[in-house]
Symmetry: C2
Subunit: 755 residues, 2 copies
């Protein structure tokens, strides 16, 4: 595809006038959208909604990028940080004909124009912010902070792609954005380029911004220090902003591949084109008062004057179709930023060549007879997956510098860590094109991975369990994005967002209280059932099987929690597969048989060990049934979650009236929550993390949270009328030894399951 005939400066101005007009119209009008007659109150939307302030700048950028694409045929994806500037993006999408391709009602004529204007911020129409329902969008932008990291993720492993990323100067104040400026240090020559455009219009909702208050020299220093070649493009008082920006974009495009890549600081007037003051004398254009709906709809005359200042009759013909010169401004076909295939990445997605797990599984003869580190085994399997995708380069692992610490180091034999800077001192496993990305920022990991997944690739985010809550809010927003994507017919499914939470709290007895926190489960449980999955594989083979499953799924958030310490192995590969498919099941080999007095249930590596040890303590006193839960949402009633066990299956596991003592990995409340709607949930007595933590021994940590084998067994005895005092005495005697010796006694550490 080649560049089409050049477009005159006048046409570009007219093009932006058209977009700006449409944006104002979207915010205010439901009728008379081309102002064919004098503006009357009944033409106005009853609730004018939208954000004007950033729109003129966004259109300037969009139109400038259109020009660059026309001249260079550069495949370009746009990530719009200020997602509240949706009217500008809609206007551009409509003029370039993207909207018409996705929706028959949004034709590039008067009917389509009217529909577009009406539909914006109208019940059942387009939301006031960008969203997955909008073509070309991989970033919502309502919660500010993540545009730049998302842009970097989208550019990875796609060397022909340029991702232009607009960052508002409000968003630039956020921490995640501030961290994301270091992206080029992790993005090598086999990846595409990111062109950040910091949109400096001076104001947030009502305050000036940090970056506005910086001098030109400070801005240059800051971005130079981050490794960029900054260029300040000030269009506040220039006659021909299109040409000024075009020159900057052309220069930037030439330099995309340099060691200090280009970035632009675009200084513009906030809400340029709005009236300079309102009738009460309040300044509008160029101030924070232009942020949202700048002119009170009651000031009908002023509003009409503002709308007519764009002279819509010069832009749209009698029918409402844009004049032909305007239609020549955007590029054509899949070069349009609304249609670039990466913006609907599911279309490009190829399923992963997932290795079979058998070769990597640990042989398990008698349950509990062998020990293994689950993540260590998984590391081997992931390394094989890395090798199988070496040519495709569509699988990445992001991690806050914890792969080795999480015993996933085998991955680094398959691909190094990505780092483009030379490191003078000693270092291991670094390369410019590594596909593992380690950075001490969970925000960057998440943002990069989101961009990578949404453009059609695959990935895994291993993280210390306690610190994944750092991205709680990003997960919240991503879950919303997935939910809306699922309701948007033309969006193709993307690979699931897979978390591997390891270094879990029960074995952070050494790092202490700050490293103990299983609350991510609770947050993910607030998500829609169509999106959220939580797995707690109890050993290595179930982890392999779980991860193999998750990496094949789409449009989900899969949370997998697994241990890294060597621990007893319960299920061989076949049994692991069957158990994972069921989601939960009775472990007959650990149960006494017969109708049980009590069900001992468990979910999670450590609780499973404690529960089996509790079963050992109890089996001469009670009939016990041991149930292990891999898929936490199997506990939910099937009408509340698609993974819920059928009532019959649930009863086979938990009976109908039998007391259940449940050893759970996380906060007990999470189990109570998923059980909601099951009959007689009050017979479930859940033990879990009670926020009792410090640096101590593993056994003490369990006992402090009433989750040790003795506590579980004692509870089971109490629930069945027995006397638990001897068990608790035994627990306390062991604790005394641990305090004396500084380590857990052999009675605890040397325990093995014996049938």
């Amino acid at each position: 595809m080649t560049a089409i005939a050049s477009v005159t400066a006048d046409t570009l101005r007219r093009y932006r006038r058209a977009c700006d007009y449409l944006a104002v119209a979207m915010i205010y009008l439901k009728d008379n959208v081309l102002l064919r007659e004098p503006l009357r109150p009944e033409h106005l939307k009853p609730r004018p909604l939208g954000h004007w302030g950033t729109c003129p700048g966004l259109t300037l950028v969009y139109s400038g990028l259109n020009g660059l694409i026309r001249r260079t045929a550069q495949r370009t994806l746009l990530v719009t940080g200020p997602g509240h500037g949706a009217p500008a993006i809609h206007a551009n999408l409509w003029l370039e004909g993207t909207h018409a391709e996705y929706d028959d009602a949004l034709t590039v004529d008067g009917a389509g124009l009217t529909e577009l204007v009406r539909r914006f911020s109208w019940p059942g129409g387009f939301p006031s912010h960008l969203s997955p329902e909008v073509p070309g969008v991989i970033h919502e932008g309502g919660e500010l902070g993540y545009a730049l990291a998302t842009a970097f993720g989208a550019a990875l492993d796609d060397p022909g792609l340029m991702v232009a990323c607009v960052i508002g100067d409000g968003e630039a104040e956020t921490g995640p954005t501030a961290a994301a400026w270091h992206g080029p240090k992790f993005s090598g020559p086999r990846s595409g380029s990111v062109l950040p455009i910091l949109h400096l219009n001076g104001y947030k909702i009502s305050s000036p911004t940090i970056f506005e208050s910086m001098s030109g020299e400070e801005l240059r220093d800051y971005f130079t220090g981050c490794g960029w070649s900054p260029r300040i493009v000030d269009v506040r008082d220039v006659d021909d902003p299109d040409t000024v920006l075009a020159e900057a974009l052309d220069a930037a495009h030439r330099d995309l591949r340099t060691a200090t890549p280009p970035m632009l600081v675009l200084r513009s007037k906030k809400g340029a084109g709005a009236p300079s003051v309102d009738p009460q004398g309040k300044p509008i254009e160029g101030t924070f008062n232009a942020h949202q709906v700048p002119v009170d709809p009651g000031d009908l005359e002023l509003l009409e004057r503002w709308l007519r200042s764009y002279r819509p009759e010069e832009l749209f013909d009698a029918d409402g179709t844009p004049f032909e010169d305007l239609l020549a401004v955007p590029p054509h076909g899949s070069l349009r930023m609304g249609v670039v295939p990466q913006a609907n990445g599911g279309l490009l997605r190829e399923p992963l060549p997932l290795p079979e797990i058998e070769r990597f599984a640990v042989p398990v003869g008698a349950p509990g007879a062998t020990d293994a580190s689950a993540t260590d085994l998984l590391g081997g399997w992931l390394a094989e997956l890395m090798l199988r995708t070496a040519a495709r380069r569509d699988f990445r692992v992001v991690c806050p510098d914890e792969l080795r610490s999480n015993k996933l180091g085998a991955l680094l034999d398959a691909t190094p860590r990505a780092f483009t800077r030379s490191v003078p001192g000693y270092a291991e496993d670094l390369a410019v094109d590594g596909r593992v990305m380690e950075v001490l920022s969970e925000h960057l990991c998440q943002g990069w991975l989101q961009g990578y997944l949404l453009t059609g690739r695959h990935g895994l985010f291993p993280c210390y369990e306690a610190f994944v809550s750092i991205v709680d809010s990003m997960v919240n927003q991503y879950a919303k994005f997935l939910k809306m994507s699922g309701e948007t017919p033309w969006r193709a499914p993307v690979s699931s967002l897979n978390y591997l939470l390891t270094s879990d709290g029960w074995r952070q007895e050494h790092n202490g209280y700050s490293h103990q926190g299983p609350g991510f489960i609770n947050n993910v449980l607030t998500k829609r059932a169509s999106v959220a999955r939580i797995y707690l594989p109890p050993d290595a083979n179930t982890l392999l099987e779980t991860m193999r499953h998750c990496l094949g799924t789409t449009d989900l958030i899969n949370v997998v929690i697994a241990g890294k310490q060597p621990s007893p192995q319960w299920l061989g590969a076949d049994a692991a597969r069957a158990h994972c498919r069921a989601g939960a099941g009775v472990w007959d080999w650990a149960s006494t048989g017969g109708e049980p007095d009590v069900v001992l249930a468990c979910a999670g590596t450590t609780p499973t060990v404690e529960t089996l040890a509790a079963a050992s303590l109890l089996r001469r006193r009670l009939r016990v049934r041991v149930v292990n839960v891999v898929d936490l949402l199997a506990l939910s009633p099937p009408d509340r979650h698609p993974h819920g066990l059928s009532p019959d299956e649930f009863t086979r596991c938990f009976g109908e009236r039998t007391p259940v003592v449940f050893g759970f990995h996380g906060y007990p409340s999470a189990v109570h929550e998923v059980l909601h709607g099951r009959p007689r949930p009050d017979r479930f007595h859940v033990h879990g993390y009670l926020e009792e933590g410090t640096t101590t021994t593993p056994f003490d940590l369990l006992a402090r949270n009433r989750m040790s084998r003795y506590d579980l067994a004692a509870d089971a005895l109490t629930r069945t009328g027995g006397d638990p005092r001897d068990l608790l005495r035994e627990r306390d005697a062991l604790l005394a030894k641990a305090y004396r010796d500084g380590e857990d006694p052999e009675e605890f550490t040397g325990w093995r399951w014996t049938p």
Copy 2:
């Protein structure tokens, strides 16, 4: 207080040798801690725990700051970002005699030394990371990212204080740290100074760091761009690092008050002093291998050689008491960084002069007859509090640029927004010494406030409800800090951390789905009952009363959720006080009287309106009782939360078998969770946010989530055997109007409670 006699370079080296020796000993030894005899395996802790890599650098800084304090009597608080470097801090605290003041067993002699070394990372002893149990500490540092913002918060409004803040180069990669470098733009001359010391030792756990990979020029550019005067202090290959650092600290101290304040980049060898290689040839000193426990305890000979390299016999006398010259190194009395009063800020805390609410309360005659914006009224009350603290300067409001948007603008009449930069364009309400801090970073707001509260002051954090989840993980860590503080006898209570969540999801119908998220409640519910409080005042006077209460409390996390839109007022000032004290209660005036067929319960501004409207719809068909819940945790059984209603009170509200239809502000799961342990919780049918959101009308948003008055009333009818179809038809007819008109119909918006 004046500087004491100067200390020789040799003494400083010996002092650091002593600290480094102690740090290694803490990690490894339980016996023979002064190496009076050859090292044997039984002298070693069974589980050596701790992080060596950052310790020598931390001690260099601590000792350098000691010198600065000796020379200048500068009151100095130290915030240690690398909290895993606790051994270094403990060593310094012991040598300066702080430990001995807080704990009789930690005397500055051989017995105290032995106890200190043994107690570190031992069950029941000191955690491996800094924690509230350690004197001088206001920051835990386990979850990296928040040290610098905390330091800025601590320095606010304390012009005589210098807060030195060590930031590890791992931590420097985090977003919150990257944002925090802009702190001086918000901290004026009536505040103290922050002296950041970026500790560049090159490595995280196993990767090189971003900042290590930056050239000296890039580092200078970056920090100059942020507004600092950076000075790079490279001690990797100098003979006398103490003097090099002392000169830099003296120069920095002289320049603390300049417009571009000083910051230091300290380049040191990671784990300096450790063996350069281990017996297997693995490099240690100066590499990431020095991060944690660098020498395998099995390499006893190497470990002994390492320990003896510090020549402990030259540092401690036969008894184990440090030689006298070492004891002259730290400053004395309250100038010691372990004893500076700000580190135990509760001691300095003065209760706020809280205004009575009566003057600000809205008069309420008949319930529901008048409308008011709850946050608007609260703004007036807060403004009065601001005025009353104008001289004390110990109350601040932090907010992500949302005060006006949240109708709290009255505050800005009492004090401007803090901003130290001149703003060339139009701006309102800015001043260098304003006590409102608006920045588009929830992380900064939270970090600043934590530092402010922990040094004995008061504050409020108003935030859009959906975006407060950005600080979920900070709240997690702060809740842990408070829990541990409460268990530390010498810690005085600090003011509670108060959130005002407004712009709540039910009225974010205009901003759309990304702005709708009540999950913060669920996260706070995972916290200890001793720490967490959640309030949902239904109107203005209950909000005033709730906030007056919260601002008087200590050591809590108070979450207050309130509306900003004008809405019906239910309770006068007296009734509001009684209702808030009870936590929950029957609204007789809204109930039909008699034994109810159904209880209509509600919590939150919007659900209360919908519930009362549902009661109106129902009262000719059913006997209904209306119960309003202000204090969510009143629903908890009293053995699970101190605010739990007694069983009798609970029954008076909810009966024993009566079905309860509950209109809840947040996710229904939160109510189910707090009800856990109450009898027959399955009779509670909770309506709340179901993650059905977009830009639409308020009524449609309610209906999508089955929370409209019609849905509540229909559910109540269904639960009592009635037929809800006419109600649902009415709902759908109204929805059709809303979709047609783009606004909610008068039947919804014009509804008023009529008795």
